[in-house]
C-alpha cells in the first residue's frame, strides 16, 4: 500500500532542492536564511518521525526565529523576461494550459481509478490519504508534461518552484503552525472556556436569540481560532445541542449543517485561516496582506445573516 510517507519524502526532496539552490544564489543577500529555512522544512518532511517531539519543537522554533528576525530574503533565479514570455505565449498558444489541465485530470484518475484498486488483499493507496497521494502524483505528471511539451530546461521546475516558494515566504508555514497552535489550545482547554463564557452570560430563552447566538458564535469563535472545526464542538456542546436541539426541538441535521456553514463565514473573515486568506495574498503578490479578506467580508456578513434566517425557518 502506498502511504502518505512517500509523499512526505517527495516533498522533503523538493524542499531540500529549494534549500541547496537558495544557498548557491549569490543574488540573494539573505541566501543563508533561505537555505536554512527551507532546509528545516525539508528536515521536517524527511526526518520528522525520528526527531522526537522535542526535536520537532526546536525545529519549529528555528523556523519562527528566522522568519521573526527578518532573515528570509527573496531569491530571483534567472527566468524569462516579459517580452520572452509574450513571444512564448504567441508560439505555444493554448498548449500552455495543458499541464494545468493534466493536474486535475490525474487527481480525478487517482481518486476514481487508483483508489478502488486492491493489491495483494490491501488497497493500492491508503484510503484516508488517497486524494493527497493523487495530488502529489498529479503534480509530478503535470510538471513532466510541461517540461516536455513546452521544452523548458530540466532545472526549471526546481528554480521556478523556488522563485514561487520565496514569493510566498514564511507565510507558507503559517497554516501548519496554526494547526499546531490549535492543538495546544485544545490541550489547555481554551475552547471549553470560551464556550462557558458565551453560554454563561447571554440569556437564550427566545428561539431567535438562541439561533442568532449559535450562528454568530460559530462565526466569531472561528475568527478567533481560525478554524470552524475547532469552533463546532464547543458551540454545539454549549448551545446547539442543549438549547436548539433539546430545548427547542430543532432538527439536528439542519442545526449542525447550517451552524458549520456559519463558521465558514467566519473563516472568510480571519487572518488566522492563513492558507485561504494570507497565502493567496502572498502568492498573488498583493501589497496589502488583508486584501483577500477585505474582498470577502461583503459576501461573508450578509451570508451569515442569511444563515440565521435559514436555520430559524428550516430547523423548527
Amino acid at each position: 500500500m502506498i502511504r502518505i510517507g512517500v509523499v512526505y519524502v517527495l516533498a522533503g526532496l523538493v524542499f531540500a532542492a529549494f534549500a541547496v539552490l537558495s544557498a548557491m544564489d549569490r543574488a540573494n543577500g539573505k541566501r543563508l536564511g533561505n537555505a536554512v529555512f527551507w532546509g528545516l522544512v525539508a528536515t521536517s518532511f524527511l526526518a520528522g518521525d525520528v526527531l522526537g517531539d522535542l526535536g520537532n519543537g526546536v525545529l519549529v522554533l528555528g523556523l519562527a526565529l528566522i522568519a521573526g528576525f527578518g532573515l528570509l530574503g527573496r531569491g530571483q533565479p534567472a527566468t524569462t523576461s516579459a517580452e520572452e514570455r509574450q513571444a512564448l505565449a504567441e508560439r505555444f498558444g493554448g498548449r500552455l494550459f495543458i499541464p494545468a489541465l493534466v493536474l486535475p485530470v490525474v487527481v480525478i484518475f487517482g481518486v476514481l481509478v487508483l483508489k478502488p484498486i486492491e493489491l495483494a488483499g490491501g488497497p493500492l493507496l491508503d484510503p484516508k490519504q488517497a486524494t493527497l497521494i493523487s495530488l502529489a502524483l498529479a503534480a509530478v505528471v503535470a510538471t513532466v508534461t510541461g517540461l516536455i511539451l513546452l521544452r523548458q530546461p530540466p532545472m526549471s521546475p526546481l528554480q521556478e518552484g523556488r522563485r514561487l516558494m520565496d514569493t510566498v515566504g514564511w507565510a507558507a508555514l503559517l497554516p501548519q503552525m496554526l494547526a499546531a497552535l490549535g492543538a495546544v489550545f485544545a490541550l489547555a482547554g481554551v475552547g471549553d472556556l470560551i464556550g462557558q463564557l458565551v453560554t454563561g452570560y447571554i440569556p437564550m430563552d427566545a428561539r431567535l436569540t438562541a439561533v442568532a447566538v449559535y450562528c454568530l458564535g460559530m462565526a466569531g469563535f472561528t475568527i478567533i481560532m481560525g478554524n470552524a472545526f475547532a469552533a463546532f464542538p464547543v458551540m454545539t456542546a454549549g448551545i446547539g445541542l442543549p438549547i436548539l436541539m433539546k430545548q427547542f426541538g430543532g432538527d439536528p441535521a439542519v442545526v449542525a449543517s447550517i451552524g458549520m456553514l456559519s463558521g465558514f463565514c467566519g473563516t472568510l473573515m480571519t487572518p488566522l485561516a492563513a492558507n485561504f486568506n494570507l497565502v493567496p495574498a502572498a502568492l498573488l503578490e498583493l501589497p496589502d496582506r488583508c486584501a483577500v479578506i477585505k474582498a470577502q467580508i461583503p459576501t461573508a456578513l450578509p451570508l451569515l445573516v442569511a444563515n440565521v434566517v435559514l436555520m430559524y425557518v428550516l430547523a423548527f
Binding site: A100, L164, L187, A256, A295, T299
Partner: protein
C-alpha cells in the same frame, strides 16, 4: 481564565504586525505556561502537533508545475485569451469560475482547482485581461482589487460547495460529534441541508461580482 491570555496574544501580535510565525509560537507558550505546563512540555506538544500536521504543507508540491508554465508564458496567454474574447467581462468570467468551483467541490473534487494552481497562473490574469478588454486601466490599487476578488471567488466556491459532498472532513466531524451526544444522523442529511446556504452564497457572491464589474466599467468611462 489565564489560559485565554494565549488568544489575547494572537490578537495583539497580529494587530502590532509582529511576524505571524513568531506570534503563533509566543501564543503557544503563553497558553501552555498559563495552563501550568513547563516550557519543555509546551515545546514538545507544539513540535508533535506540527509534525502531525505536515500534510497541510504538501500542497506546495504543485509549485514547480505552476513555475514551469509561468516561465513559458501562461499568464500572458490567459490575459490574451480574454482580450480576444471581447464579449466576456470580469463579472460573468468570475461567476462561471464560481459555479465551476462550487459544483466540483460539491462532487468532492476539492483538489482539482485552487489558489496556487488555478488563481495565480490562470484565473487572476484572465480577470485582469477581461477588465482591460473593456477599456479599464489597471493601476496598482485596481490590479490588487481584481486579483483579490479572484482569490475570494475561489474561497467562496470551495467553502460553500464542499459541504454538499458526503465524505468531507466537516461532515464526518459533525456525525462523530453528534454520535458522542447520542444523536445518530445520516451524513446525507447534513449534505442536503448545506444546499440552501450554498444557493444563497452563490447568489450573493454572483451579485457582488456583477456590481464589481459595473464599478470597473464606470471607472473605464470616467
Amino acid at each position: 481564565m489565564l489560559t485565554l491570555l494565549g488568544v489575547a496574544a494572537v490578537v495583539v501580535g497580529f494587530a502590532v504586525r509582529l511576524n505571524p510565525l513568531l506570534v503563533v509560537v509566543i501564543a503557544a507558550f503563553v497558553t501552555g505556561l498559563a495552563a501550568g505546563m513547563t516550557p519543555v512540555a509546551v515545546l514538545e506538544a507544539f513540535g508533535k502537533a506540527f509534525n502531525d500536521s505536515r500534510l497541510i504543507t504538501v500542497a506546495y508540491l504543485v509549485l514547480p508545475m505552476v513555475g514551469v508554465v509561468e516561465r513559458a508564458g501562461i499568464q500572458e496567454q490567459a490575459r490574451k485569451l480574454m482580450l480576444r474574447l471581447r464579449g466576456v467581462s470580469v463579472g460573468p468570467l468570475l461567476i462561471v469560475y464560481l459555479l465551476f468551483r462550487q459544483g466540483t467541490s460539491a462532487l468532492g473534487l476539492t483538489s482539482i482547482a485552487g489558489q496556487t494552481q488555478s488563481i495565480r497562473p490562470i484565473v487572476a490574469p484572465m480577470a485582469e485581461g477581461a477588465v482591460e478588454s473593456h477599456g479599464g486601466t489597471l493601476d496598482d490599487d485596481e490590479r490588487q482589487r481584481v486579483k483579490a476578488m479572484a482569490a475570494a471567488t475561489d474561497n467562496v466556491g470551495l467553502f460553500f460547495g464542499e459541504d454538499i459532498f458526503v465524505a468531507i472532513g466537516s461532515i464526518l466531524l459533525m456525525v462523530g460529534f453528534l454520535a458522542t451526544a447520542g444523536i445518530t444522523i445520516d451524513p446525507i442529511h447534513l449534505s442536503l441541508w448545506a444546499i440552501p446556504t450554498a444557493i444563497v452564497a452563490f447568489l450573493l457572491h454572483a451579485a457582488r461580482l456583477l456590481l464589481f464589474d459595473r464599478g470597473r466599467r464606470r471607472r473605464a468611462v470616467a
